[in-house]
Symmetry: C2
Subunit: 250 residues, 2 copies
Amino acid sequence: MLSKNKIKELSLLHLKKHRDEQAVLIAEGNKLVLDLLPAFSCRTIVATAKWMLVNKPKAEEIITVEEDEIKKISLLKTRQQVFAVFKQPDFSFDKSDILNSLSLVLEDIQDPGNLGTILRIADWFGIETIFCSQHCADIYNPKTVQASMGAIARVKVFQVDLPTFLQEMKTELPVYGTFLNGDNIYNENLSNKGIIVMGNEGNGISKEVEKYIDNRLFIPSFPSERITSESLNVGAATAIICAEFRRRVL
Amino acid sequence: MLSKNKIKELSLLHLKKHRDEQAVLIAEGNKLVLDLLPAFSCRTIVATAKWMLVNKPKAEEIITVEEDEIKKISLLKTRQQVFAVFKQPDFSFDKSDILNSLSLVLEDIQDPGNLGTILRIADWFGIETIFCSQHCADIYNPKTVQASMGAIARVKVFQVDLPTFLQEMKTELPVYGTFLNGDNIYNENLSNKGIIVMGNEGNGISKEVEKYIDNRLFIPSFPSERITSESLNVGAATAIICAEFRRRVL
């Protein structure tokens, strides 16, 4: 059973402030929690007796409840069988880890859903490291975790000062970015060792970050003379670009 | 100024039932409203005096307000300068319209944000017609309209009984669909005259609809042996597939 105090304690974790203070993230739902259990250390798990029996989770604190009780701490509209609190991973970054691979850099992505979708895309295309600017949405926002569909367990995300980071990496790796006045991606050389920068939903890549980009890419609309949407959603653009980088080596 | 009655009348349109009864959709924000004004007939426009002066909108009913008042009828968290009610378009469908083009079919897409993103992708890639199954999210859900970023003004959306529709079209056009056990899209012939079916977020394409699909496509993950997310988000998959169809003819 969930005590009043426990409900209060767990509900506080809906807020970034409290998640960060305790260095935790929350996850709900059978599939997501099962994806995260092998990857992250679990602090608290709240689930039905049936779920506990089937899944035998390892956690510091295990609370068995009736299904009805979970909605008292849930952020989701639909009923869930399980709610879990995990410790935030403490990845360390070594530059040599990314010199032979493709990485993503995200500048000020605002929407947690977009951020989660991008994590899932990165995971699908074997991009194991993402660098976020200081003003990106919270990587441990429950909407990000949920939209990542477990990819957050497999993709390492670091928050960095983008200009400093890109200044350093630019000498080692090609840096790509997407621009509405960039060059048709299908005519460009794309390396599977490099960095791809994706910009903010409304403003794209800032002038300050643009300075570090060697390769300006554009996803052509069709037919080119047609009046169309001003741009693609950043998740859609990331998907197309990652797919195209990988297609070249398939 | 907004009277109490007007606030009530406009707020009712947050609900599908009332939008459908009155055959209207609502849109907020400068860019979206300006995108829709030339495309749809405007019933009511609520905006600041400054916005009215700059944009001189045509509408059956024009209500000038202080910026503060708009939040009383708004669904958005951020302040808006304009809120508008448009008549739902009444497109007619003629089979011959799609025989020389690429169209999208959506089976039970649940999330209004995904639906809007897909509209925006279709618009970018010159796909002018979308067919939705009966159980898709509401095309006039404000979240769909918002996520479409004005694409809803350029892409025609029809709700159809999918099996009946596909049964009829199958004799005229190739029908493509995405499956986790489909064939690598990069090895397949892709025609720019055809129909692409995208499935539900959780369940993909149903068995019933699968019967009408000639070409089963798959977006390969990378590297193929890596353990990854189970699938891509439907918006991301739609983006990659539409881009690939269009790349072939660029």
